[in-house]
């Protein structure tokens, strides 16, 4: 365990993550970001509320010693929305997997983005269901063999970033676990952003995606694979081949009125008029 992480851990414990899992990296990158912001007086960790969905990545926040809710499968975003509306001073961050956020919770995701409610969503994308043992997810590449697509997947995968942009998110970025510095910066920007922010992390699952889809269970080899197949969004042209490539970088960073501000403006105007 890194020294900085130890400061923020709820207790000295092993995580549930498999050896070589990207979730441990993401946990450390996030702690790094909050530690930086805290020391710069830009974040009060007492006001930080982390919501974990269901899936391996939903466990990430449970190790951090701040207010944490580990909620139902797919429902992290509505819980976060309720908290943010009730108390806009709280900084509410959702940790969700690709199945949690794009499949069972997909509807909540697009509606939260549409409203531009000021919650932050970290979506860990390992391109399949890891917790249940390697089944088809809405992000699994077309043609992949998983435990529920033994004859190859004929599903077309979702692009979470495009979805977030189209639905109305105001901060959208995607990096892989191989982009440590960029991810810490993205987490910082996400936490400082006012409005719905979405950071997708392409993360290695050596146990299932590695072994069964890639045919490679060495975590560092998978990270190399991520690096090799990543294209920065700035270097992308209309004719670029997107199939099998990870499009990374900051895709959107704009300002729009937030849902909670508009709701509370109304309340402040109307309160006590009768």
């Amino acid at each position: 365990m890194l020294e900085v992480a130890e400061k923020y851990f709820r207790k000295k414990t092993r995580t549930i993550f498999c050896p070589g899992c990207g979730d441990g990296q993401i946990l450390h990158y996030f702690i790094d970001a909050i530690d930086q912001l805290k020391s710069e007086n830009k974040l009060d960790t007492k006001k930080l509320v982390l919501i974990g969905g269901i899936g391996c990545s939903g466990w990430i926040p449970t190790y951090i010693n701040v207010d944490v809710m580990h909620v139902l499968h797919g429902r992290a975003i509505p819980v976060a929305t309720g908290i943010k509306l009730a108390n806009p001073d709280l900084e509410v961050v959702v940790f969700s997997g690709d199945g949690d956020n794009l499949s069972i919770g997909g509807n909540h995701f697009i509606h939260a983005a549409r409203r531009n409610v000021g919650i932050k969503v970290v979506m860990v994308n390992n391109m399949l269901y890891g917790m249940t043992g390697g089944q088809l997810a809405p992000t699994t590449p077309h043609g992949a063999v998983t435990h529920t697509t033994p004859y190859k997947s004929v599903d077309t995968p979702f692009d979470g970033c495009e979805l977030a942009k189209t639905a109305g998110a105001t901060y959208v970025a995607r990096w892989t676990t191989a982009h440590a510095r960029e991810l810490v910066i993205a987490f910082r920007e996400m936490l400082l952003h006012k409005g719905f922010a979405y950071v997708e992390v392409i993360s290695q699952c050596p146990t299932y995606f590695g072994r069964y889809v890639l045919g490679e269970d060495n975590p560092s080899a998978i990270l190399t694979y991520f690096l090799k197949n990543s294209v920065r969004v700035d270097n992308l042209s209309e004719n670029s081949d997107r199939i099998g490539r990870f499009i990374i970088g900051k895709m959107l960073d704009i300002t729009k009125p937030t849902y909670e501000d508009e709701v509370w403006d109304q309340v402040k105007k109307l309160k006590g008029v009768i």
Binding site: R10, K46, K47, V49, I51, T62, N65, V66, D67, V68, M69, H70, V71, L72, G74, R75, I77, P78, V79, A80, T81, G82, I83, K84, L85, A86, N87, D89, L90, N107, H108, H111, V263, Q266, V267, K269, L270, K271, G272, V273, I274
Partner: protein
């Protein structure tokens, strides 16, 4: 903006609908966060709350569906708000997973189910009492809930206050089972003054150092801080220990938690139990038992039978769950026959048989309430 609905806030009595009474009751009880999704015949509650909430400094949130609504009120409750939602059959089905989560995480919330005919999309515009078992058993796993069945517009107000109070006291979801009749009927109600009905607030933790998210006191209920108060809560939807750490693979600790969740309600069964009786003073051996809107016909039936000189009593159950077994047993000690009209296939009548008294179920389906005459005829067919 000032219309009939909003002008009701400070009025003492008025002619209002059941839905409006429910909204006013919620506000009286301190509800300041309402999330919902339009559904017949519960929509008017959401409409009333959307008008009233901002005026009372509260939040109205229209979720993208019932899943969003119930999870939003769970979040808002942890942020310190008394929170409520209202729905009907299909929406109530969707909310069941959220009810289970609120049970296990001991989140005070109130869920109103304005019952319509089911199953499936069913009969959106007509009443039923078909969801009474879903209120008790709807979510998976073992748990106990508190459920009230109002029978008139006044109770749509007072039992909503009671529901909020009990959810705060026992830190549990509380369900109010209204129906289409009660939501849409207009009656004159006397609204209580502020302070007339005492309000209950959830227990706040005393010492930060000794705090653990799910450490119960002697009454089996833990105290509950707000998110952002610096307690570093760990609210866990898996079976957990006192600190919120998952204990799913530990049989003893898992059983301990589920037992406590059930017992904190069932050990207060008698305290929660609410019912009313009429014509019981001369110890009738036959009694008409009912709940909700059907009890209006049941009461009329008993009054008419008494006029004919037939010795029969009346008992109305107000708190359906937890089943007020001990109190009912005492109340019906000399009774040898129970007639039980209800707007379903006879579900509560079936459950009622645990008391060991012969029960003659008078069920009615189709979305129409029993008339007093129908109840009288059924009783006469069997004989008192």
């Amino acid at each position: 903006m000032v219309n009939k609905m909003t002008s009701l806030i400070n009025k003492k009595y008025s002619l209002i609908s059941g839905s409006e009474a429910m909204a006013l009751g919620a506000i009286y009880a301190g509800v300041r966060f309402f999330a919902g999704y339009p559904i017949t015949p519960a929509t008017e509650i959401a409409e009333a709350m959307s008008k009233l909430m901002p005026i009372k400094g509260g939040i109205y949130f229209q979720g993208e569906d019932e899943l969003a609504s119930i999870n939003a009120i769970i979040g808002a409750s942890w942020a310190g708000f008394k929170s409520m939602t209202a729905t009907s059959g299909p929406g109530f089905s969707l909310m069941q997973e959220g009810i289970g989560y609120a049970v296990l995480t001991e989140t005070p919330i109130v869920i109103v189910d304005v019952m319509r005919g089911g199953p499936s999309t069913g009969q959106p515009t007509l009443p039923s009492q078909q969801d009474i078992m879903q209120a008790k058993f709807g979510s998976h796993g073992d748990y106990e809930v508190i459920t009230y069945a109002p029978a008139n517009v006044t109770e749509m107000f007072t039992l909503t206050v009671e529901a909020v109070n009990m959810s705060e006291k026992y830190r549990t979801p509380v369900i109010v089972l209204a129906d289409e009749i009660l939501a849409h009927i207009w009656e004159k109600v006397f609204l209580p003054e502020n302070g007339e009905i005492p309000l209950i607030e959830r227990k706040k933790p005393k010492e930060k150092e000794k705090f653990a998210t799910f450490m119960p006191d002697d009454d089996l209920i833990p105290s509950m801080p707000r998110l952002g108060d610096g307690y570093s809560v760990l609210v866990e939807g898996q079976l957990h220990d006192e600190f919120g750490f998952g204990v799913g693979s530990n049989p003893e600790k898992s059983a301990k938690l589920v037992n406590r969740i059930v017992n904190k309600i069932s050990m207060h069964k008698d305290e929660i139990a609410k019912y009313e009786t009429y014509y019981m003073d001369d110890n009738p051996s036959a009694v008409v038992v009912s709940y909700g809107s059907v009890s209006r016909s049941a009461k009329d039936a008993v009054i008419q039978l008494r006029k004919e000189g037939i010795k029969i009593g009346y008992l109305r159950i107000i708190s359906l769950w937890p089943f007020p077994e001990v109190k009912l047993k005492k109340e019906l000690a000399n009774v040898s026959k129970v007639f039980f009209p209800e707007m379903n296939i006879g579900k509560y009548a079936d459950y009622f048989r645990v008391l060991g008294i012969p029960v003659f179920s008078i069920p009615k389906l189709g979305g129409v309430m029993q008339t007093p005459l129908e109840i009288i005829e059924s009783i006469k067919r069997v004989g008192v």
